[in-house]
């Protein structure tokens, strides 16, 4: 095939293209992923029973704020990674800011408590449930996010996969927060932060396989 013929073919009757499609597609995917994760949580785990208590509400808000910050930062980065050449000038470290914030709060909290309480503050009652639930709930949002990113053009597949995993982990943590009754800052830092990092690593491992185009 002559390249001239290909050029002629591609440029015949060319359709106009809408602007901002990458951001729109990824936003829709993340919203859909969040709705699915929420549904999954409601059916599988249920909302915590003591939501009317002030302490429960405060911690729910805190967990959701942390998860939202993770998702927001990661999404901004993901839309850049999905457009060739747009990655420059944006730091991957920005995505780590919410983690640094919650870790700092956790450490301050531990510092103010007697060391005999540390074990309970970090492990809580349901650390194992948290460790399992967040990655499992993240699977569907991850799949939906990857589907959307595939329609764009990521060129750094490991990093894009990782950030897709980060977004999915954040969405999942947001949904899980409605169920989780462990109300301590060190718990959120270790188990929420840790499981979201696990999702990120899984995404990095899967990225090259799932995102190639």
């Amino acid at each position: 095939m002559k390249t001239d013929d290909l050029v002629a073919m591609l440029s015949t009757n060319v359709e106009p293209i809408g602007r901002g499609l990458v951001v729109r597609t990824i936003s829709i995917a993340v919203a859909a992923g969040a709705a699915l994760a929420l549904g999954f949580m409601l059916v599988g785990l249920g909302v915590r029973a003591d939501l009317t208590a002030t302490r429960a509400t405060v911690f729910l808000l805190l967990k959701v704020t942390f998860a939202l910050a993770v998702v927001g930062m990661a999404m901004r980065y993901l839309t850049r990674l999905a457009s060739p050449g747009a990655e420059r000038g944006i730091s991957p470290l920005a995505s780590a800011v919410p983690f640094a914030g919650i870790a700092l709060l956790g450490i301050i909290n531990l510092g103010m408590a007697p060391s005999s309480h540390w074990n309970g503050m970090i492990l809580g009652d349901e650390w194992l449930e948290c460790l399992l639930s967040i990655p499992i709930i993240a699977i569907v949002p991850f799949a939906v996010t990857i589907f959307a990113v595939r329609r764009a053009a990521p060129t750094n597949l490991v990093r894009t996969g990782a950030v897709a995993g980060l977004v999915a982990g954040g969405i999942s943590a947001m949904a899980y927060a409605l169920h989780c009754t462990d109300d301590s800052l060190p718990f959120v830092a270790v188990w929420y932060g840790g499981t979201i990092v696990l999702c990120t690593l899984a995404g990095a491992a899967l990225g090259p396989r799932l995102l190639r185009w």
């Binding site: 290909l6 050029v7 591609l10 009757n13 060319v14 747009a86 764009a152 185009w213």
Partner: protein, 187 residues
């Protein structure tokens, strides 16, 4: 900002608005520059001009299929460069060459022109023949014969939006066939 950037970006913006002659001119310019870039790269790893042309065509298809990912608020040449380099690495990996692509300046991709009357190893007619009937019909009517989408819809017996979807799907399939062919040839 170089004059290349200004010129190519203007063409790209017009192309995204559906201006066919701008798009043709853009793809012409990009193909001669990509050709010079890939020939240079391939000469260093002992590969020929036909292989370079295979890759030029693969990248042109990729640019076409991914043109919605260009953010009009940023320069255009880094977008092309990133795709060109991604496809080069992918191609070398696929065809099993242990070559390392040195990280070069983004300007290198578009630095030179090569207007050789170039031909790849792919046969468009054979590739089109592998597409499902309605998909092939849509592409032939609209993209090869230059008929309107409405005419194609009547001829292929599907709706207008069906024609548009089929064209996109068909071009995507062609890109996949081309990638598969290069992989098989080099096995």
């Amino acid at each position: 900002m170089t004059s290349t950037e200004i010129e190519l970006k203007a063409l790209m913006l017009a192309s995204l608005d559906g201006n066919a002659s701008s798009y043709r001119s853009l793809l012409d310019r990009l193909s001669s520059r990509l050709r010079a870039y890939y020939k240079g790269k391939f000469a260093r790893v002992g590969r020929g001009a036909t292989e370079a042309e295979d890759l030029v065509q693969e990248v042109l298809l990729a640019i076409h299929l991914k043109r919605h990912t260009y953010d009009t608020g940023v320069p255009f040449t880094p977008w092309v460069y990133t795709i060109a380099r991604y496809k080069l690495i992918d191609y070398l990996r696929r065809t099993r060459t242990a070559a390392r692509v040195p990280i070069d300046e983004g300007t290198e991709v578009l630095a030179q022109d090569d207007h050789a009357d170039a031909e790849s190893s792919h046969d468009i007619r054979i590739l089109l023949g592998r597409l499902p009937e309605k998909v092939r019909c849509s592409i032939e009517c609209v993209k090869l014969e230059g008929r309107s989408v409405a005419e194609a819809a009547a001829r292929c017996g599907i709706s207008e939006s069906g024609v548009k979807i089929n064209i996109h799907r068909g071009l995507r399939a062609l890109a996949t066939f081309i990638a598969q062919e290069t992989k098989d040839e080099n096995r």
